[in-house]
């Protein structure tokens, strides 16, 4: 059978970051145990028990206390098989050595850390509180305890972040003993502190300059781009996230989590009270074949590997090259896409205008 992932959302945080629009709540002990009970129940209710990867995201999963963490991992343990990817998101400030030991004990083999930037002024603006010393400490602890597959997130285009600061950030992040870097262009979206404070995104020209610099420099340091915003040492791509982009199934449990099972996509409520009452699913979309194809292309083209024409045919019984003949021809002529080894690929230098290309291709 094909792969299926399990995503577990922990919406609690000790601080709310200025750019974050995920489902999140300030950590409050009184909700946690009931929340974890609901998570357990939600997984059971799905009647699914086989997953090729588990990803615990947030929010800030590492904001849970050691006891709560053990409880969470006890719930997840039965679904984890050795050698499968078991990833956990954490913040430097609350990922203690004790918690790391617990993670290791329960089989977590990948940790993703919200580093964002090394610049102290910018971190303050983001409402995050860690410093270089802490970064090194946490990463060393992880490695010492045997969790060596480590991702750090880097954000660029922050207000006040000039090229010099970015250069510094890139230099420092690439010298860490980590396997994976995700870099995100800041986007100011509703329901965030930045949005309320009317922070403006930088000009696309600037974003592009930063992005091109990041892609080039990370590559020089051995981190290859495999998706628009994701870079890894060879073999260390995020197995779980690849599921999304390869249009494979996943069960998402917890607040605001999304699932894709069979021909349906669901998303959960973002209201904690509703969720705790067991009123979980807020939206449900039944996918037509057209929708499936749309998602397949929209997601697959985010990857450097692009989409497989064979797989498209197998899944949808249709020839991608015939169905999109004129569009592909035009985009090929404009060097926006290319056909290579049986795959349709967005040309390397144009991945950053993917949505522009998708509009041409899909409409």
């Amino acid at each position: 059978m094909s792969n299926r992932g399990l995503y577990v959302h922990i919406p609690f945080c000790s601080h709310i970051c200025s750019y974050c629009d995920f489902a999140k709540y300030i950590y409050d002990e009184k909700f946690i145990s009931s929340y974890l009970d609901n998570l357990e129940k939600e997984i059971l209710d799905s009647n699914l028990d086989s997953f090729s990867s588990i990803y615990v995201g947030g929010g800030t999963p590492s904001s849970l206390s050691e006891k709560e963490l053990e409880r969470l991992l006890t719930i997840l343990k039965p679904y984890h098989k050795e050698n499968n990817s078991f990833a956990f998101e954490a913040n430097f400030e609350n990922l203690t050595l004790e918690k790391i030991k617990i993670l290791k004990q329960y089989g977590v083999n990948r940790v993703s850390l919200g580093l964002q930037t090394f610049n102290q002024d910018l971190l303050k603006k983001l409402n995050r509180y860690h410093d270089e010393e802490k970064i090194h400490e946490v990463i060393n602890n992880l490695i010492n305890e045997g969790i060596t597959d480590i991702n750090c997130d880097l954000i660029y285009g922050l207000p006040g972040q000039d090229f010099k600061i970015l250069e510094e950030d890139v230099k420092k992040i690439t010298s860490l003993p980590i396997t994976h870097i995700s870099t995100y262009a800041l986007s100011v979206v509703p329901h965030t502190m930045f949005y309320i404070k009317k922070v403006e995104e930088v000009d696309q020209e600037v974003y592009r300059e930063y992005y091109d610099y990041i892609v080039k420099t990370l590559k020089e340091k051995g981190f290859n781009r495999y998706e628009v915003s994701n870079f890894s040492k060879p073999g260390y791509e995020s197995k779980h996230n690849l599921l999304y982009w390869r249009n494979e199934e996943y069960l998402g449990v917890g607040l605001g989590a999304a699932s894709y099972i069979g021909n349906k996509r669901y998303s959960n409520t973002k209201s904690l009270t509703q969720y705790l009452k067991g009123e979980r699913v807020k939206d449900e979309e039944t996918l037509t074949k057209e929708d499936q194809e749309f998602y397949f292309l929209m997601l697959g083209l985010r990857l450097e590997e692009g989409v497989s024409i064979d797989r498209f045919k197998k899944l949808y019984n249709e020839d991608l090259l015939v169905k999109y003949q004129d569009k592909i021809k035009e985009l090929e002529e404009r060097r926006l896409v290319q056909l290579k080894d049986g795959r349709l690929i967005v040309t390397k230098e144009n991945l950053f205008i993917l949505d522009y290309i998708l509009q041409k291709l899909l409409f």
Binding site: F22, R208, S259, F352, I353
Partner: protein, 605 residues
Amino acid sequence: MKYDKQHIRNFCIIAHIDHGKSTLADRILELTGTVSKRELKEQMLDSMDLERERGITIKLNAVNLNYHAKNGEDYLFNLIDTPGHVDFTYEVSRSLAACEGALLVVDATQGVEAQTLANVYLAIDNDLEIIPVINKVDLPSADVDRTKKEIEKEIGLPCDEAVGVSAKTGLNVEQVLEEIVNKIPAPKGDDNAPLKALIFDSYYDSYRGVVAQIRIKEGSVKVGQWIRIMNTGQEYLVTELGIRSPNNTQVEELVAGEVGYLAAQIRDIQHVRPGDTITLKDNPASEPLPGYHDLNPMVYCGLYPCDSRDYPALKEALEKLTLNDASLKYEPETSQALGFGFRCGFLGLLHMDVIQERLEREYNLDLILTAPSVIYNIYLDNNEMVTLDNPAKYPNPASVKEIQEPYVEAKIMCPEQYIGPIMTLCQERRGVYKDLVYLDDTRRQLVYELPLAEIVYNFFDKLKSYSKGYASLDYELIGYKPGKLVKMDIMLNGDSIDALSTIVHRDFAYTRGNAIVRKLKEVIPRQQFEVPVQAAIGGKVIARSDIKAVRKDVLAKCYGGDISRKKKLLEKQKEGKKRMKSIGTVDVPQEAFMAILSVDEDENN
């Protein structure tokens, strides 16, 4: 039941937008039991959705109501609704001519607004008895005394007995009905004189043909009689007469003083024009009622389907619309950039807007409109005169001896403090000052001769913003005058786009060219590569701006929860793309073709 003249009242309601005309009309309908509350859709008289949405009445509707007055007698009220915009002044004047009186509705929280005045003056011109009605007196911010004083001062209408009402709650509306009985004169007219019936509106009905809404001024008409429409000379056999209350009720005869409708299997709405007079074929009136004139389109624009496969649907929709709208003209044309479409003529910009919206909503068409143009007269070297309603068809400049453009006499009414900025606006628009009339202590009327093309070029919006909405504009075509006019081409990526060509005055070409290329840069989305936009006259580039290349267009994070949202976002963009036209590799949105209308030259200074 039949009413004698003494028990008929024909009236209309004059009000500024939002002052409550339709709400008052609804209450009157309700109070007279014409429509029960249950079937009363909000604002019954404005029957087109578009009208209801914009709060303006475009098409006239007449309705007959029965009222049992306090004096114990029954009256027949004919309420004739009027549109309220400069494009339709003629139609307003024709519907006013069908009445003996008018209710002037003024919002007690707003006072008298400029636009109301133009229609009040039209009513006074038509000798109507005007009854002031102060509306919205239930609102805390209502100032009834001040409003009364304003009406007295600005219109010269005594307001001691003016009724204060709330059309919304129905407060005192009955008193208004009594005023209609007591103050508006009963219609006059001799039932036995030769028939003179004023057509104030018409519409097409697929069973009855064109239906004329009429007011009998003299004489009478019966089903089965032959009629003649005096200015067009057409003759028809009357198949149906009726009144609207508000649904059609058939009658055998309409006599002097009455308002009703007439059907005669008329196929062509062009034969039943507002303002024309119907008489009988036998025993005709010696002359028609005064005030009739032809309504000719003042502005033209190209109408194209976004999707060229919609051309037949557009054609059919236009055919249907012209069944009901005699002032809409269209003929096929082709554009290199836009493909097959139609050149359409309208009474004015609002008319154009209304038609566009109806085509898009009622016929579900996505359209591209080119910037509106007036009709130019071009004199060639060989002394031949050609008329030009599409700048793209401008003849070889070398063969043009002279080009003339239509001028209007514009009357602008405004409070005195706005005179300065409005005069500046008129000068900037090549206006020639004619007169300044002191209407009263504070109100002035400016008279200017202006090229119609300048009025079409967002003059009205400017006027409104220069006068904080207080100025009103009325204009009349006065003839053609020569001007230093040239054709300006717009080039995208070096290719001239015919649908974007305009005629401009040489002295203003540079500013306007600059404004247009900037505006185009703003509305045309970024493209794969940088695209130059240039304005050129006779091949010489006078302005340039560059549409930038798209550099970042991607969602940074796309994980489980983002995926459905991303698809929705893309689909929303798809809707936008449907309204784009690909010219070469450049996607040009609909509004680009109208860019010329919304440019703000001030931004360049």
